[in-house]
Symmetry: C2
Subunit: 340 residues, 2 copies
Amino acid sequence: MSDATAARAVTLGDVAARAGVSISTASKALNDRGDVSAATRAKVRAIADELSFTPNAMARGLLAGRTGTVGLLTSDLEGRFMLPILMGAEDAFGAGRINVFLCDARGDAIREQHHLKELLSRRVDGIIVVGRQTDPRPSLGQELPVPVVYAYAPSDDPRDLSLTPDNYAGGRLAIEHLLACGRRRIAHVSGDPAYAAAQDRLAGARAALGEAGLELVGEPMFSEWTEHWGRDAAAMLLQRHPDIDAVFCGSDQIARGVLDSARDLGRTVPDDLAVIGYDNWEVLATNARPELTSIDANLQQLGRQAALRVFDAIDGIDIGEGAHHLPVRLVIRGSTIARR
Amino acid sequence: MSDATAARAVTLGDVAARAGVSISTASKALNDRGDVSAATRAKVRAIADELSFTPNAMARGLLAGRTGTVGLLTSDLEGRFMLPILMGAEDAFGAGRINVFLCDARGDAIREQHHLKELLSRRVDGIIVVGRQTDPRPSLGQELPVPVVYAYAPSDDPRDLSLTPDNYAGGRLAIEHLLACGRRRIAHVSGDPAYAAAQDRLAGARAALGEAGLELVGEPMFSEWTEHWGRDAAAMLLQRHPDIDAVFCGSDQIARGVLDSARDLGRTVPDDLAVIGYDNWEVLATNARPELTSIDANLQQLGRQAALRVFDAIDGIDIGEGAHHLPVRLVIRGSTIARR
DNA sequence: GAAATCTACGAAAACCCTTTCGAAAAGGTA
DNA sequence: TACCTTTTCGAAAGGGTTTTCGTAGATTTC
């Protein structure tokens, strides 16, 4: 960028002057509006191309009242869950010629307020708030001049619209799959029990077991969402309850640890022991031995949905309120069913 | 968002009227500019707060010529490398009251052009282009009205400024560490040989070995950047060259696979065999058995640098040109040195 | 008391675009 | 020729803010 001439950008006026027409005619020619002769239109278009004229979105937005931008307020970019949501949203917006303002609050409420102000000052047409856990988070309030949709982490105010993955259903789905595979003695190893996700998944699992007249083998084991813990937990578990035939893990990382320990202890997966993970983190799941069956939260879909809701709200459509739990999906791989 | 009144946002005029002063006085009062009495200033401020007035950034940008926004044009959000870069950039910008337009081109040139046009239409003050590989990518051209900095993937035009991690130095660093650990019979397992990163790391490794009067054991093994390949490669390697005492892996995933196979084949890491990875992907590296020594490309720092360069360019400072290789960092863990 | 100096404020231009409405030109009809 | 219709274009307003410059009033100086 040595010679980036900071020359004034070419304006509609420049195009009009060069084409020998008025500014209004030029505008109409470029926007297919009003009555302009075909010849004039072609001429203006040609000149605009030649000067590589790009209309000033700000000037346009000033008039229209709409900016064609949406704010994406994340609390923690780092998280693995943020990305697919972000992609889904960006995807949906990209199709509609909307641009995304990205703000990362780093989990800090003050930074969040600061970013919120920035977004409002830029007159975004809507805001998506993406949390890093499925635990409820403080609402931005009801007084905002733009529609807000909460994704992943629901708002703690039921008047807000929140989209969040259905962890309860995920827990059920995992257990139902294990039961369908003929497993009966199922244990649960999960992460931090303070996470709503951990509790919801467990609740779903217990419900599914209950309907089959079964219970978890032993107490559910909670600690961290890491492979390390998965290994340690599995070692303890297999010693205490050598007769288990399946483990439902709260995350793929934990499941990887469980797989490792099981292998070390001479258990064969899936024949001897079925293992199911959660999150369907592809890199981890597909490189496990055997490949890991998992629950996918459809996060990209969730991001898409959030974006579409914001679209609707912008168009004046009522998008409703409350926390909506989006369906999750079972991805079957070799850790629960032997390959034929 | 049930009651998001689409009421017209409060303008400076509203504040001025309510305060009983002119628009210009109100503006000056809020911006600490011009001559305004302390009393008037306080009054205007109070009213602005009360009405929760937020200046319209578009109207402001229209005048100033600067928008306080920067475009982040990524070619592939999905990639693991994008995130830290994005975070670093967002961080640097956040501090300077600049907002980030995020655009994901999905690796598609047409989408990229489309997004570029959008960004220019929004009159961003600068653009950061983030690629997904360290291979050179097509330049956006020299004719753009705003400064551009290429991060991770350098531009193929030497007149552009590119910041990219120094893979050659990374290769050297890895080998030098292994040599310092007393290893002499070192093999190399890497990913897709079509990646510049793979070739650069290998070249650096060979240079370091050469200086010590050594050579790689066997041919470098290329295939995929996966654990699967790491396992397969290690199995072959240890059969063909049972006497190797270290493996330099092209990625942490490959290294994880190598660790797995080594363990299966009864080799002890690090006593018997040292393993070093690349990328320092924390989740993988710290959960390996033993924890994985790796090379960290300082991507967050790279993103920061890119942002700062754009800042400078906006301020009219010449930011230079050419591809700059940013230093990488060795992170020592248990896979190369036994814990005391 | 007049002149000079400050101080505090307001009017208006500028930024770039879209849109409305009126006017001019061109063509057709009686 | 006088009148009407259709087509094509331009003048001007409007959007919200910043900034420049002028002015009215207050204060000081001789």
